[in-house]
């Protein structure tokens, strides 16, 4: 998806032409899908966690940056309740559901685009978020945190294998609570690796993970444990 860097000028020119063609094909391809390029862009924006730049979005959709930026602006306006450029609906006084603002907005933060809940609803959303929240970690969350602390950096799949259960939602909770964080990707599998944060150290009252108590007194014969889990991975 990313372009190579060391092109001679003429090569770059050729590439630009053929790329142009591909990008137009890309747009035609999107037009064929229900909802067209706009819906395709929405689909991406709706599920990405990290803001994406218009260049990244253009590359993913296989269209030009200019096309993506037009679409982004249309979506942004539409979500905010302005009538979309639609020549056949420019009669004034048209204020039905389609022009009411949505509950979400498309924002460009720090150069990247992402969908957020609309700030008008912050109170309601905040109330919903707080409902059912507890101030203590569940046993499952604590155990997962313990595994990550002693095996970091570690992927979710690995933690799952060790704990014998799926840990996806628990990892999300721990991330949300600021106790663990993304520490890059595993060079082999590409899986996200997790490590504990400085907030975790703070809560534990220690200066670094090296200060975590040794495991050995608690569990004799853990030396071979890594092989054990690797063996049980299929």
């Amino acid at each position: 998806m990313r372009q190579g860097l060391n092109l001679t000028e003429s090569e770059a020119g050729k590439t630009a032409v053929s790329e142009q063609k591909t990008l137009q094909d890309g747009l035609a391809e999107l037009e064929a899908l229900p909802g067209g390029p706009r819906a395709a862009l929405e689909a991406v924006l709706m599920v990405i966690d990290q803001p994406a730049t218009s260049e990244e979005l253009a590359a993913g959709l296989n269209v030009t940056v200019a096309v993506v930026e037009d679409l982004l602006q249309d979506l942004q306006r539409e979500y905010s309740g302005y009538t979309v450029k639609a020549p056949d609906v420019d009669a004034v006084g048209f204020a039905d559901a389609s022009t009411a603002p949505r509950g979400f907005e498309l924002r460009n933060v720090a150069g990247g685009w992402r969908i957020y809940s609309r700030s008008d609803f912050a109170d309601i959303v905040g109330r919903f978020v707080l409902e059912g929240q507890t101030t203590r970690l569940t046993q499952a969350a604590l155990e997962t945190l313990a595994v990550i602390a002693y095996r970091q950096p570690v992927s979710r799949a690995r933690v799952s294998a060790i704990r014998g259960v799926n840990v996806d939602s628990v990892v999300r909770t721990l991330t949300q609570r600021g106790l663990i964080e993304d520490s890059g990707n595993d060079p082999e599998s590409g899986a996200v690796l997790y490590r504990t944060t400085s907030y975790f150290l703070e809560r534990m009252g220690i200066g670094s993970v090296a200060e975590l108590p040794q495991l050995s007194p608690h569990l004799p014969g853990l030396e071979g444990i890594d092989e054990y889990y690797d063996a049980s991975r299929m």
Partner: protein
């Protein structure tokens, strides 16, 4: 839905390729070969063979697939290292059933005559029932697989909570010292013990009762001379198990011709009389048969008190 059986060419068994066994290269020339991984069990193989012969599962002449099944089992055995014992034995059980059925077909058709015929019929019905059941689940598994795949094309929105909402969350209550946390880690990292494979009998507390021991006790009383009723002999028995053991012991002693029974009519009182002339008789002269049995010498897990 039923995965087609991979024919010879592309079906070079992955496992065989790694086995430098000369025997496998011979069998590789045989007409029918399958990749081991194509099958997830004996029923799967059986279904595969049935579909290969384009037979209706309900009308299958099992004998025609038996040979191939057995051939396949032989291959499995050749590749022994690749197969867990329990896995291979599942295949063997079904192969044995198939062989039985095939043998039955070679005999002239006729009336069901004896218990063996009936057992064969039952084995066959059971095999059919299990095969049909497996087939149903295999089809459902295909549907599940398709659904899961289709659904995987939809990505859920699961974004991190926006900063200002996350800030609303109440501060965590944290009560763990580093040591407690390490303990937790040790517990979480400990390899999970495999769940028990069999029903434990440890909680059953049947006191061991030895037949020989009971024979010893009764022998001692009977040698005193007076005939005793069975009622009298068991009057001090604490449990039913002891009663049973004493009855078995009496039968043993009767076989050794050291006691005689008197019972005027069925269900009437049983009187036991010592007839042995060997005053030195003891229970060790009882028949050896108990020793060879699966439950040596006793009812329950008997320890031999008399030896």
């Amino acid at each position: 839905m039923v995965p087609s059986l991979a024919p010879t060419s592309e079906a070079e068994p992955a496992a065989a390729a790694e086995t430098p066994d000369a025997g496998t290269s011979d069998s590789r020339k045989a007409g029918f070969e399958v990749r081991l991984a194509n099958f997830t069990g004996p029923f799967d193989l059986l279904l595969g063979l049935i579909s290969k012969h384009k037979l209706d599962i309900t009308e299958v002449a099992l004998a025609t697939v038996t040979d191939e099944f057995i051939k396949y089992i032989r291959r499995l055995q050749e590749l022994g290292e690749e197969w867990a014992l329990d896995e291979a034995s599942e295949f063997l059980v079904i192969a044995a059933t198939l062989l039985d059925l095939k043998a039955a077909r070679l005999l002239p058709a006729g009336e069901v005559e004896d218990a063996e015929d009936i057992a064969l019929l039952e084995a066959r019905d059971l095999l059919f029932a299990r095969l049909l059941q497996y087939k149903a689940f295999k089809q459902i598994a295909g549907i599940l697989g398709e659904t899961l795949e289709q659904e995987a094309r939809r990505y859920p929105r699961q974004v991190a909570l926006e900063g200002h909402f996350a800030a609303l969350l109440p501060e965590l209550v944290w009560r763990h010292s580093p040591e407690q946390f390490a303990e937790l880690a040790a517990k979480a990292l400990k390899p999970k013990e495999a769940a028990p494979e069999e029903v434990g009998l440890g909680h059953l507390h049947a006191p061991p009762v030895s037949v020989k021991e009971q024979a010893e006790i009764m022998g001692y009383r009977l040698k005193l001379g007076a005939p005793l009723s069975f009622q009298t002999l068991i009057v001090d028995a604490e449990t039913t198990l002891v009663v049973v053991a004493r009855f078995l012991a009496l039968l043993e002693m009767f076989r050794d011709r050291v006691v005689a029974f008197e019972q005027p009519e069925p269900l009437a009182e049983l009187t036991v009389r010592w007839t042995g002339d060997d005053a030195e008789w003891d229970s060790s002269s009882l028949s050896e048969e108990y020793e060879a049995g699966p439950e040596p010498d006793g009812i329950g897990s008997g320890e031999n008190g008399s030896e």
